[in-house]
Each structure stands twice: as structure tokens, then as C-alpha cells.
């Protein structure tokens, strides 16, 4: 498989591992890894590196909601334009255009339910093209970006075997 694709897999599984460790796994030298990472970044394939946080384990209020948005397009305004307006808010963690009975799925984060619902009613709902919002507060997160938040899978293999 193409080295760049392999590199993406490795970054997806652990973006914090050292360039040297990545190089060892791909059987190339560290300079090559640096170069490939630079390319992935400049092509826009890799947009950032972030921790996967289990907020239930952080001693701090953190509320998240998944908001469904319906919009009405007119001759001047398309999805891109509406998305640009919504994406600029720091409260919006993710924004996706989706198929089905509504148009945008928006992840909104804040310190309290009050924060989040205020944000939706005061910043999102008033946008002229937005015809409807439905807010679902997240009660609990079990898995995020491929990482399961339960206890680690216990390895019940024998410690030493033939």
C-alpha cells in the first residue's frame, strides 16, 4: 500500500507517536516521514491533531448537543454560504451536511445546558435560512473517534505460550 495511506493509518491510531517510531513501522527513514507528513498537511488531508477527551472523566462542566438544522435555500444562498456562517462560531465543534429528513448536523459544545440552548436559540435559530432546529443533549459518550471509553479489553491469553 502507498506509504502515505499507511502513514494516515498510523496517525489515526496514534498521532502522538514519534516520527522515529512511525519510520520504524513503515520501514523508511525519519526524514521521509517528515516529508510525507508535510505533504499530507499542505494538501489539506491532515487538518489537525487533537486529543480524544472523555469529558466525564474531567472535573469540569461540559455539555454537548447534537443539533438538527433544517434550512431553506434561495437563489442567493446555498449550503456553502450557510455552513460558512455557522462554522465560524467556536461553540460549533462539528458541522456536516447530511442526507435524510434534515440538512445539517451540528455538534455544539458549552459549559452548561443553558449555554448550549442559548447559543442555539440566539445564534443559530435567527439565521434567516434556518427554518427549524432540534436539539438533542448528549447524556453519555461511549465511544469517540474509534476510541471506546469502557474498560480496556482484557487480554485473557496465557502470558507465555508455545
Amino acid at each position: 500500500m502507498e506509504a502515505k495511506r499507511e502513514l494516515l493509518d498510523l496517525l489515526l491510531s496514534d498521532a502522538r507517536q514519534s516520527t522515529e517510531d512511525i519510520a520504524r513501522q513503515l520501514g523508511v527513514d525519519a526524514a521521509t516521514v517528515e516529508k510525507l507528513v508535510d505533504e499530507l498537511e499542505s494538501e489539506g488531508a491532515v487538518r489537525g491533531y487533537q486529543a480524544v477527551v472523555d469529558w466525564d472523566s474531567v472535573d469540569e462542566e461540559h455539555v454537548r448537543a447534537e443539533v438538527e438544522l433544517n434550512v431553506e435555500l434561495d437563489r442567493e444562498t446555498g449550503y456553502e454560504e450557510i455552513a460558512r456562517r455557522i462554522a465560524k462560531f467556536p461553540e460549533v465543534a462539528s458541522l456536516r451536511l447530511i442526507s435524510g429528513s434534515y440538512d445539517f448536523a451540528v455538534d455544539v459544545e458549552g459549559e452548561s445546558m443553558h449555554d448550549v440552548s442559548n447559543f442555539v436559540s440566539e445564534q443559530i435559530a435567527p439565521i434567516p435560512e434556518v427554518t427549524q432546529t432540534v436539539t438533542h443533549f448528549v447524556m453519555r459518550t461511549y465511544k469517540e473517534r474509534g476510541v471506546y471509553f469502557g474498560d480496556g479489553d482484557d487480554d485473557d491469553r496465557l502470558a507465555v505460550s508455545p
Binding site: 500500500m1 499507511e6 498510523l10 491510531s13 496514534d14 507517536q17 517510531d21 520504524r24 513501522q25 513503515l26 520501514g27 487480554d155 491469553r157 496465557l158 502470558a159 507465555v160 505460550s161 508455545p162
Partner: protein, 387 residues
């Protein structure tokens, strides 16, 4: 009254405990252990195979199967092995067994008369010697060498007196070394086999775990099909060790004889596992390829780390083992492995456990997560540097 110990057969009393046992016991009592001593994948069987097993149970398929294994499974095995250019008739040239382990034992029992010599290349998987002995045969150890990356050569066979043997055991990709053999290298061995009229038992259970090139079965070499039984199974490629399912491929006369023993001692291989295996062959190539790729990354990682640490490690291209040398200053692999587990809580298996030629080496399994491998190699590095 004769005590229970005195009642044991001479054979049972004379069977030594496996050399792995001691390290297992040391490892068992340790917290915070990182084990690179595990001879099975760290993955679970592909979900589709597990579902097929569950489905079969829900449908109440809990009876024996045909002695040779379900016909539909044997047909799929026949189809599957064509990828290695092997061609066997599901009717009478394939036997489904309880792990490759049972098939190896059956072949020994079907082929060995008391006193027959069986050439067993070493270092190798620990079961061959005892199964030869249980059948009344004599083991002729054939030492392979680090200089040749543990590939078996014509000279190795000659030097060991393997021409006296009636059977030669092969295991490539190899446990414990990770060594593989190319077609050219196998051709030399095949030449020796034909010259001295040997029969080959070829354990190819790691065939699917080849890196960089394709697996070659010795049975595909000229005139070898009629003098070879090939073993394979679901334990390693499909991460199904606990399901206990393997198979043997060979000339009908030998498979028939193996089946005759199997029908009295085992009746049939586990039924639930046979259903899982059918699904594994039908739909799990993708899952196997994903595991293989993950193993390959780990393999490259551990090989470069060992060489950086100063523990000479040849580029093993198969299975999920590498076989580095002890670091300079350490002659004794057992002493090294014991000091390492006591001081750094990293478990490896000393090479000598696998027979002649293994001394001074360590079997390292990379069937562990990258996180564990990194941690283990860091501990080994600090251990080696502190001396």
C-alpha cells in the same frame, strides 16, 4: 497399593515438561508484565466467523459431523488452498482436525513404526519431538543456523544424518524464528528428500502471514505432492486458536490412514468451529489482510528496535515472531530471559527451548499492541544499557 505416580506409563513419566512452562509460571505471578511470549494473535476471530458460530448454535447444530469434517468445509478448503497452487480432492485428500496439532499427531501415528527416524529441523515448534516419541519414533535433530537466517539447507540435512530418516518435518514460516523459505531454497530440500526417499510433514499454519513475498508450499515442487502432507488451520491466520480447527492435505492413502485413527480418537473436529471456518473462508480475506498489515508494521518496528539496541535481529519474513540474539556480553539466553523478566517484567522465551541452534537467541512474539511493543522495547533497552 501401587501409588498413582507408579501407575504412570514410562512414556508419560519420561515426557519432560515443556521449557516454556517455567517462564509461564514466572510470568503468572507478576504484575505490570509486558509479555512478548505469546504464541497466538492478539486479535479476536473476525466478527463474521464468530456470528456464523453463534448462528449454528441458534439453529441447534450441535451434533458430530462426518469424520473427515463437513463436506462443504472440505470443499472450501480445497478451493482456498488453490491460492498456494495446491490441489486436493475434498472427498479423500482432506481431513479436518481439532487444530493442526491433532493432524500432526495423526500423521505421526499413521506413518511411524517403532524405531523409525524422523528428521526435525531445529529450532522449531515444541510439539514435533514429543509426538514423534509418542508414536515410538526417534527424533533426528537437524540444526539450522543463524548465518543462514535459519533456513534449512541441503548441508544441514546431510550433516545431521537425515538420510537415515524416513520422515522430514518442515515448518515454514517458522515458529520460533519467523524464517521463511523461497522456492529455490525448498528445491534443495526437495532434492534431498527425493534422493533419500523421505516423506515430508509440512506444517504451513503460518502460510497466510508472509511479509514481502508469497508463501510457497513444498508440495508444489516436482514429485513432492505424493510424498507430502501439508498442515494448515484457522488458529493463526484467522485468530481462532480457541476454536481448535485445522486440517491436513495429502495423498489419499495417508489421509485415509489418519482418518482411521481420527475416527476412533476424536470422531470429528468441533462442529461449531467448522461453521465458523466455513464463514472465515467465505468472507474473511479482508480481515486477514488487515491483521497481516498490522503485524507487518509491528514486525518492522521490532526488528529495527532490536538492531538499534544492539541485539542482532535478522529480517524474519513470516509468522509473528522475530528471533534476536542476546546482547553482547550475554551468552546464555535462559539467564538473559530470566533476568529480564525479574528486573524489567518483560517476558520472552529463551531460544534453546525450541531445540539446538536456538541457544543465544530469544523468541519474541509481536502479537501484542504497538503500545505494548514500544513499552517492552524501551524496558529491554534500559536493561541492556544498565549492564
Amino acid at each position: 497399593m501401587t501409588g498413582p505416580t507408579e501407575r504412570l506409563s514410562r512414556r508419560a513419566r519420561e515426557t519432560p515438561p515443556s521449557g516454556i512452562r517455567r517462564f509461564f509460571e514466572l510470568a503468572e505471578e507478576m504484575d505490570d508484565l509486558v509479555s512478548l511470549g505469546v504464541g497466538e494473535p492478539d486479535f479476536s476471530a473476525p466478527w463474521a466467523a464468530r456470528t456464523a458460530a453463534i448462528d449454528s448454535l441458534e439453529r441447534g447444530r450441535t451434533s458430530y459431523t462426518a469424520n473427515r469434517g463437513r463436506r462443504d468445509l472440505r470443499e472450501r478448503i480445497a478451493e482456498h488452498v488453490t491460492r498456494y497452487d495446491l490441489s486436493y480432492d475434498p472427498d479423500d485428500e482432506i481431513l479436518v482436525s481439532t487444530g493442526a496439532s491433532e493432524a500432526v499427531d495423526l500423521a505421526m501415528r499413521a506413518l511411524i513404526d517403532p524405531g523409525d527416524a524422523v528428521a526435525v529441523p531445529q529450532p522449531s515448534y515444541i510439539s514435533y519431538g514429543p509426538t514423534v516419541t509418542f508414536s515410538g519414533g526417534e527424533v533426528v535433530p537437524v540444526e539450522t543456523h543463524a548465518e543462514n537466517d535459519f533456513v534449512l539447507t541441503y548441508e544441514d540435512l546431510e550433516r545431521a544424518g537425515a538420510d537415515e530418516a524416513s520422515i522430514l518435518v518442515l515448518c515454514y514460516p517458522n515458529n520460533p524464528t519467523g524464517a521463511v523459505m523461497t522456492r529455490e531454497e525448498l528445491a534443495e530440500v526437495a532434492e534431498f528428500v527425493r534422493e533419500h526417499d523421505l516423506f515430508v510433514l509440512s506444517d504451513e499454519i503460518y502460510a497466510a502471514l508472509r511479509y514481502e513475498d508469497e508463501h510457497v508450499s513444498i508440495a508444489t515442487l516436482p514429485e513432492m505432492r505424493e510424498r507430502t502432507v501439508v498442515f494448515n488451520g484457522f488458529s493463526k491466520a484467522y485468530a481462532m486458536t480457541g476454536m481448535r480447527l485445522g486440517y491436513a492435505l495429502g495423498p489419499s492413502a495417508v489421509i485415509d490412514a489418519m482418518n482411521r485413527i481420527h475416527q476412533y480418537t476424536m470422531l470429528s473436529a468441533p462442529t461449531t468451529a467448522q461453521f465458523a471456518a466455513i464463514e472465515a473462508l467465505d468472507s474473511c480475506d479482508g480481515a486477514v489482510e488487515e491483521m497481516r498489515r498490522e503485524f507487518d508494521r509491528r514486525r518492522q518496528f521490532v526488528i529495527s528496535r532490536f538492531n538499534e539496541i544492539g541485539m542482532d535481529c535478522f529480517e524474519a519474513k513470516g509468522a509473528f515472531y522475530v528471533f534476536p540474539k542476546c546482547p553482547p556480553g550475554w551468552e546464555d539466553d535462559e539467564a538473559f530471559a530470566e533476568a529480564l523478566i525479574r528486573e524489567e517484567r518483560v517476558a520472552l522465551v529463551p531460544g534453546r527451548v525450541f531445540g539446538d541452534g536456538g541457544e543465544g537467541h530469544l523468541r519474541v512474539s509481536y502479537a501484542s499492541s504497538m503500545g505494548e511493543l514500544k513499552e517492552a522495547l524501551n524496558r529491554i533497552e534500559s536493561f541492556v544499557e544498565s549492564r
